[in-house]
């Protein structure tokens, strides 16, 4: 015979109270665990949604940048570096720079590590009278794009551009605009002579409606020879880096720092406008994302508040119910407690009888409540049913508080009536008829 036997016998004798006590604890524990699981799975789902959205946004922005880069490339060079003494009015009037740079200047930029420019193309261009064909043309010497070493991603292993805006002109050949070709009835493969130098027509560029339609591109060394500008160029065409379009001022300062005797002429406001649109789109996306985050946080706070209130009500309900159950039990067993004390039971032994019962109630309520809470939580939430998804939501940090909550509620609620029972005066209880 021991105290646990007394507890077990009393429980089976008064099943109703014990079962309703357990039920109240199951509801409180299940509510607690269920709320945690639902909130946690909701949090994970929101996090995953954000991650997905951010990923989509990133992809969208990358695509936008690719599109933008493509547009930029298609539109051609948008920066011209010319001598600082070059009059822009004269440039506008004549259509080509009339002051000259040293050819090595382009290498100084290429090797400087500059980040704000791509696709450097040194040019020597003048408007000349083509005596052999009796026509005024723009004659341009090019040597292909100079590799910008700070942008290795754009270059092949041989330091050639993967996708140059303008192809180099092979030795002994000439490329030309469509206007000239039509005017002079020239086709690829035809032989032409410019100022005594022989060239074979290589490529004919489709009409653009610009002065390029009246342009003939030849290798740089031939142009320098024909134009008597050995080792000289009169401009460096370049493409602004997409990443730097919002920093136009910075580009000018960087070039000036490398080549103090130059000035930068940026001639594509359309691209700048597009960059601005892109920037605004990015900002809008960011704002939408941050608004969404704030909205989700607000929603989450409200859900947490609601869940807390619900759980508090359930816990309070269970506590009150158990308090009254134990209180009633203590009242009903006054004579029993009295005789136990008379027989020699110590106060702590009487306390053990009542608290042992509530503890048992708490343990059973905790286990069943945790199982119910887990089941309902899994049923109502959108948990990823893989093992890792399951572990993210359901782990010891959820189950342990649930298992402990119920015994704590039961013991706390049953403590006062149990102490009252233990402290009752046996003489008074036995003297009651």
């Amino acid at each position: 015979m021991d105290i646990w036997k007394i507890i077990k016998r009393e429980i089976s004798y008064k099943k109703y109270g014990f079962i309703t006590g357990i039920l109240s604890l199951i509801i409180a524990t299940a509510g607690f665990i269920g709320a945690i699981i639902l909130l946690r799975s909701d949090e994970i789902a929101t996090e995953q949604m954000f991650i997905q959205k951010e990923k989509e946004l990133k992809e969208e922005m990358l695509k936008l940048e690719d599109d933008y880069r493509l547009i930029m490339r298609k539109m051609g060079y948008n920066v011209l570096i010319i001598h600082k003494d070059q009059s822009l009015a004269e440039l506008e009037q004549k259509g080509y720079p009339t002051t000259y740079l040293n050819f090595d200047d382009v290498w100084k930029i290429a090797e400087s590590g500059i980040k704000t420019l791509n696709h450097l193309l040194p040019v020597l261009q003048e408007k000349v009278y083509w005596e052999e064909r009796k026509i005024e043309i723009f004659l341009t010497g090019i040597q292909g794009q100079v590799p910008v070493y700070s942008k290795p991603g754009h270059l092949t292993q041989d330091h050639e551009y993967r996708s140059p805006i303008m192809e180099r002109v092979p030795e002994g050949k000439a490329d030309m605009g469509e206007e000239i070709a039509i005017l002079l009835n020239l086709r690829p493969g035809d032989k032409i002579k410019i100022k005594g130098e022989l060239f074979e027509v290589n490529r004919i560029y489709p009409r653009k409606g610009t002065k390029d339609d009246l342009n003939i591109w030849i290798p740089m060394d031939k142009a320098q020879k024909i134009l008597n500008r050995k080792g000289e160029i009169n401009g460096i065409l370049a493409l602004e880096c997409v990443c730097a379009t919002e920093m136009l001022g910075q580009l000018k300062e960087e070039v000036k720092a490398i080549l103090p005797h130059t000035q930068v002429f940026e001639f594509s406001s359309l691209i700048a406008a597009r960059a601005d649109v892109r920037k605004r789109a990015a900002e809008l996306h960011k704002k939408i994302m941050s608004d969404e985050v704030a909205h989700q946080l607000k929603l989450r706070n409200e859900k947490e508040k609601l869940a807390s209130i619900l759980v508090i009500i359930l816990i309070a309900g269970a506590s009150v119910w158990i308090f009254f159950l134990v209180m009633n039990n203590v009242r009903e067993r006054r004579h029993e407690t009295g005789i136990l004390r008379a027989i020699g039971f110590k106060r702590y032994q009487v306390l053990k009888i009542f608290l042992g019962k509530t503890l048992l109630m708490g343990i059973i309520g905790g286990i069943l409540g945790s199982i119910t809470g887990l089941w309902l939580g899994v049923l109502w939430s959108d948990i990823d049913m893989t093992i890792s998804g399951f572990q993210k939501v359901i782990n010891l940090s959820v189950i342990l508080p649930g298992l402990l909550l119920s015994p704590v509620i039961a013991l706390a609620a049953g403590l006062i009536p149990s102490v009252m029972a233990a402290n009752n005066d046996p003489a008074t209880m036995l003297n009651e008829q």
Binding site: M1, I6, G344, Q433
Partner: protein, 221 residues
């Protein structure tokens, strides 16, 4: 001498400025093998005397010696132990635990004892046999007659082999036949060397006591 009670006083307040002297300067001695009865009408202080003598109720003044130990001069824990070791109680209402069977009810005192539970079980079965309860061993109190219930209560009181038995109206709820049986067991206990303090309002019982006191208004008269 098993019990020595001297100069016991106990009073209760029943209302504003109203004091009832439940026990008023009572002294009593009970020797081994002696059955002492105290009778008197209801409310004369018999039960209060029994509860004080049994170490359950502090007196206002006076002393209670059980086997030479002053019960109210020792700690409550030691008093609990003394009570479980040396005293048995029987009440008119039996106070059996309703959800335990006969054997388990009788074994309850074993929980607070230092002895081996097997020895208790043997002793409990002896008492069950002695009190003609063998066929009722697994019955709950609700399934027993009142006489059987009181016999179970008596067996529970005797399981620890106490030196003194305190019986408060042990036959109060019993018919004559069962009252005789219970009284016989109580007398047997005294004959076997135990002390008995029996309080009752039934004058017939007093005739079986070795000594008998009449009580009125808290005093022996």
């Amino acid at each position: 001498m098993v019990l020595q009670v001297s100069g016991l006083k106990k009073s209760y307040r029943t209302g504003k400025d109203k004091e009832v002297k439940a026990v008023n300067d009572v002294s009593l001695e009970i020797n081994k093998g002696e059955l002492v009865s105290v009778n008197g009408p209801s409310g004369c202080g018999k039960t209060t005397l029994l509860l004080i003598s049994g170490g359950l109720l502090y007196p206002d003044s006076g002393e209670v010696y059980l086997n030479g130990i002053n019960l109210y001069a020792i700690s409550p824990e030691k008093r609990d132990k003394e009570r479980s070791k040396s005293i048995g109680f029987v009440f008119q209402q039996f106070y059996l635990v309703p959800y335990l069977n006969v054997l388990e009810n009788i074994l309850i005192p074993s929980i607070v004892s230092d002895s081996f539970s097997d020895l208790y079980e043997i002793r409990a079965k002896e008492l069950i046999s002695q009190f003609n309860l063998t066929g009722r061993i697994h019955h709950k109190p609700g399934e027993l007659s009142t006489g059987e219930r009181q016999r179970v209560a008596l067996a529970r009181a005797l399981i620890n082999k106490p030196e003194i038995l305190f019986a408060d109206e042990p036959t109060g709820n019993l018919d004559d036949e069962n009252a005789e049986i219970v009284l016989k067991y109580i007398s047997d206990f005294a004959e076997n060397g135990g002390g008995v303090l029996l309080v009752t309002h039934d004058k017939r019982i007093s005739s079986q006591a070795h000594r008998s006191f009449k009580m009125k208004d808290g005093r022996f008269i």
